[in-house]
């Protein structure tokens, strides 16, 4: 037995440079940089490369600093945050179909935010971005907790129940949102509807800072949970056996992902499927180890949304496609494809 061990150790680690973390992450970083450059240079006002070197004129400066850059930062950060939230929820539910949009977390966050837009102004006078984010976060967390309590027993998630509960929550949250909008005044209605479709069009620096800081801190926090997440993926009881406090980790995953979804939804509205598409692709590429899955999903999510937003703002220029709509067009078929894959696995 011992004589074989030395010969086996080489065959154990097939070094595959296409899947090496260094290669993958540098490719993704490069792609993100390209995407960001393409994104920031597109728009109705052309800013030539000379302007970047010689300085902007007043109009260019305004467009760059107050419109394009904040939008680019938010697109990048929200893409990363939604992807990481997807990874976290999928570990929690132990299923690749658990996605904030599909299971109703995003629409609950939206309900919380619209609740603030419509009722908050009457209750508190004026509504700040902070209050909207907080309301979105709380309702996202409650929705996650509710679905988890409903669909998971003894650490095992009933996938059908999870998705159906998502359908129900989406319906309830959607109808309640509509109801709130229908009792709102013109101005509230406009801002609520516009924002619900998911849009990066009106973004201010204070909200950029909040979404940036919250997403960064939460992602790093979840990344530090990578090992427990790996264990959790094997089963809740197994994570206990491996020395992790499963109950505490569950709460951290739930509220961590709710925080990122909440703040993303409060900033740009509901954008679905990022948390579904991105982790799936990254898993196929580099596997299921959360130490790599989380940072690389963050990168890939950022890339996806940067390009998607670029398409959304240039496809029918000078007007814009709402990014939420665009992502649904892209993500719907992807979701169907994943369902077909799961069906194959069940049949087997």
């Amino acid at each position: 037995m011992n004589t074989q061990s030395s010969t086996h150790i080489q065959t154990l680690h097939k070094s595959n440079w296409v899947k090496s973390i260094g290669f993958v992450s540098s490719m993704l970083l490069l792609l993100l940089l390209v995407g960001m450059m393409v994104h920031i240079s597109s728009g109705s006002l052309s800013i030539g490369w000379q302007a970047y070197l010689q300085g902007f004129n007043a109009q260019q400066s305004l467009v760059f600093w107050e419109l394009r850059l904040p939008r680019l930062v938010v697109v990048t950060v929200v893409g990363a945050g939604l992807a990481v939230a997807g990874v976290a929820l999928q570990a929690l539910f132990r299923n690749p179909l658990a996605e904030p949009g599909l299971i109703g977390v995003s629409s609950s966050a939206a309900l919380g935010a619209v609740f603030m837009i419509v009722l908050g102004s009457t209750l508190f006078g004026s509504v700040s971005y902070w209050q909207m984010s907080l309301a979105a976060f709380l309702s996202a967390g409650l929705a996650t907790w509710f679905i988890y309590a409903l669909a998971t027993r003894y650490g095992k998630t009933d996938v059908a129940l999870m998705l159906l509960a998502g359908v129900a929550i989406n319906a309830i949250a959607g109808a309640s949102t509509q109801l709130l909008i229908s009792i709102s005044d013109d101005l509230q209605m406009r801002s609520a509807i516009f924002w619900m479709m998911g849009s990066f069009a009106n973004i201010s620096w204070p909200s950029v800072t909040v979404v940036l800081v919250v997403t960064l801190l939460t992602s790093v926090g979840l990344w530090r949970l990578a090992k427990p997440l790996n264990a959790f993926m094997l089963g809740e009881n197994i994570s206990l056996h491996m020395g992790y406090d499963a109950k505490r980790i569950k709460w951290q995953i739930m509220w961590g992902s709710a925080l990122m979804v909440g703040v993303a939804v409060a900033t740009v509205g509901v954008i679905g499927f990022v948390g579904l598409i991105v982790p799936h692709i990254v898993r196929l590429w580099i596997g299921t180890d959360h130490r790599q899955l989380i940072p690389l999903s963050a990168l890939t999510g950022a890339i996806l949304l940067v390009f998607a937003d670029w398409v959304a703002k240039t496809l029918i220029a000078p007007s814009e496609l709402p990014i939420g709509l665009f992502m649904a067009l892209l993500g719907g078929p992807f979701f169907l494809m994943m369902l077909l894959q799961q069906r194959k696995a069940w049949v087997k």
Binding site: M1, N2, H8, L12, P96, M233, L240, H241, D245, T288
Partner: protein, 284 residues
């Protein structure tokens, strides 16, 4: 080689004291008192629903008892953290399902990484993985996706992961007599879906490791296997411990019929310490 008995450390054990676990007024484990000794193979027997898995869950801190306590080598289990426990014991649950694709080797490395509270260096992780993969005969499957394996292969891969968590670092090559000292292994129906060849191979390993200090606590349904490998047999009935002792004493046709509802023939086996136990179909 004989060792003077008094040079061995004081007997270590896991003790269940008046242990009860109740679900909706059903006493799944009912005022159970028992000792599980280090360096021994203890086998828990009982019909379906007798409380075997519940007892195992109570002893691994997966469940909290409603009454009584588990003394983990003289410390109350409730005062130990999951992280502390994970350094001392590994658990193979009855059911495992892998839902994301992961290679056999990665799966096993997740187990090895638990050692030293996560501060094992990568070389040691590989070495551990290598050794347990050979033990469980999954070396040839190292790069395969666990989800594509057969039931028995998955079981062996999971067992390898579990072993990796308590596998002594390099101790197998050293002259340490008890490399498994202070370690415990809980196995809930590990033979399910394993072929007989692997059952036999692993049984031999379990016996060897027990002699090297490993405390093994397993739930089994196979009476003959129990008779061959157990140092101590405990039979549960409706959550109560009804019989315990050496297999030779406990596993009599009368006892087995009474507690497990099974007719058996007990056949003495030439050269073996314990008799063979065969189901007798002529009396059923």
């Amino acid at each position: 080689m004989a060792f003077p008995v008094n040079s061995l450390p004081a007997t270590q054990s896991i003790t269940c004291q008046n242990l009860s676990y109740v679900v909706q007024s059903n006493r799944l484990v009912d005022q159970l008192n028992s000792d599980f000794l280090a360096g021994k193979i203890s086998v828990i027997l009982g019909k379906n629903g007798a409380g075997k898995s519940t007892l195992l869950s109570l002893m691994t801190k997966e469940l909290e008892p409603h009454e009584g306590d588990v003394l983990w080598q003289e410390t109350s289990l409730s005062t130990l953290t999951f992280a502390e426990l994970a350094q001392q014991r590994a658990v193979l649950p009855q059911l495992q399902n892998i839902v994301f694709s992961i290679s056999v080797q990665q799966l096993i490395e997740l187990g090895a990484e638990v050692q030293k509270e996560g501060k094992v260096d990568p070389q040691n992780i590989q070495q551990i993985a290598l050794e347990v993969m050979q033990i469980c005969d999954v070396t040839h499957l190292a790069q395969r996706d666990v989800m594509t394996l057969s039931g028995g292969e998955q079981k062996r891969a999971q067992l390898a992961r579990v072993l990796a968590q308590i596998w002594p670092l390099k101790a197998m090559n050293s002259h340490h007599l008890k490399p498994f000292e202070g370690k415990w292994l809980f196995l809930d129906e590990w033979t399910t879906s394993l072929d007989l060849h692997h059952q036999q191979q692993l049984s031999a390993f379990f016996t060897q490791w027990a002699q090297q200090g490993l405390g093994i606590i397993m739930v089994l349904h196979d009476l003959n296997l129990t008779s061959q490998i157990a140092d101590n047999v405990k039979i549960l009935q409706d959550g109560k411990l009804v019989l315990e002792g050496e297999p030779k004493e406990v596993l009599t046709p009368h006892n087995i019929n009474l507690t497990l509802g099974l007719n058996v023939v007990v056949l003495p086996l030439d050269g073996a310490k314990n008799p063979m136990i065969v189901t007798d179909f002529s009396h059923s």
